[in-house]
């Protein structure tokens, strides 16, 4: 193993250690973590805010509608990919 790759491994390990320390320092394992402010707010105000009784729908189409746009786009791109990849075979056969 050359010196360059050894140095690279050491750097990666160092980066991992730094990231792990940063993550665990930022975490709070105490009471703060169990407060659940957001879900309490949704349960208390969800129906009044959105008018949807089904709270799941209230969250994913009203509070988090932008996220749902991303989900719809993911499915759209998946369909595009499948149609493109599966029709590729045909055009190649016709050319040869």
């Amino acid at each position: 193993m050359s010196l360059k790759s050894v140095i690279r491994y050491i750097l990666v390990l160092l980066l991992l250690v730094v990231l792990a320390v940063a993550m665990f320092v930022g975490m709070d394992f105490g009471k703060e973590y169990h407060r659940r402010k957001v879900s309490d707010y949704y349960i208390a105000r969800g129906v009044k805010d959105t008018g949807a009784i089904n709270l799941v729908t209230a969250i994913y189409l009203n509070y988090r509608a932008y996220d749902t746009l991303g989900e719809a786009t993911v499915l759209f791109v998946a369909v595009l990919g499948v149609m493109y990849l599966l029709s590729y075979e045909k055009t190649r056969d016709e050319n040869s």
């Binding site: 129906v47 959105t50 008018g51 949807a52 009784i53 089904n54 799941v56 729908t57 209230a58 994913y60 189409l61 009203n62 509608a65 932008y66 749902t68 746009l69 989900e71 719809a72 786009t73 499915l75 759209f76 998946a78 369909v79 499948v82 149609m83 599966l86 029709s87 075979e89 045909k90």
Partner: protein, 146 residues
């Protein structure tokens, strides 16, 4: 390769198809009141078409529900979703902000944008699922023909 199932299967699937479509639209339209919603209803819509396809064979189903029509339906779903989002900005709210009145809680036309978005997501997901299925079946037929 057999293209059609037996008469019993075909009859049952043909009778089941409208019921499944009705159930899918029930899931979509009542998405904000009872469990369900656009994605689930859309999957039921797509699987009803898949059932018809598997029992009737590809020719008859692809003549009624054309590949290009489904692709257009899918694109309309996504683009209308984005368009409704920008309509929210134009009407003075944030992106995808609710600009319709909330109405009486518990009724079907309530909850503002949720019903509208559910409808478009439902048609989009149904068209997308059946498009993927069409492509896979076409690929399978081509692979078996070779």
């Amino acid at each position: 390769m057999r293209r059609q199932e037996t008469k019993i299967v075909r009859n049952v699937a043909r009778k089941l198809f409208p019921v499944l479509v009705l159930f899918a639209f029930y899931l979509i339209i009542y998405g904000h009141i009872s469990p369900g919603g656009g994605f689930q209803g859309g999957v039921v819509l797509g699987s009803s078409l898949i059932l018809l396809y598997l029992s009737e064979g590809p020719e008859r189903v692809e003549k009624k529900f054309k590949n290009s029509q489904l692709a257009i339906l899918e694109a309309i779903g996504v683009l209308t979703f984005v368009g409704i989002g920008f309509l929210g900005i134009i009407l003075g709210k944030h992106f995808l902000g609710n600009f319709l009145p909330i109405g009486r809680v518990g009724m079907v036309p309530s909850a503002g944008l949720v019903l509208l978005l559910n409808l478009f997501i439902g048609t989009k997901v149904g068209a997308g699922i059946s498009l993927i299925f069409y492509a896979l079946m076409k690929f399978d037929r081509r692979a078996q023909g070779e």
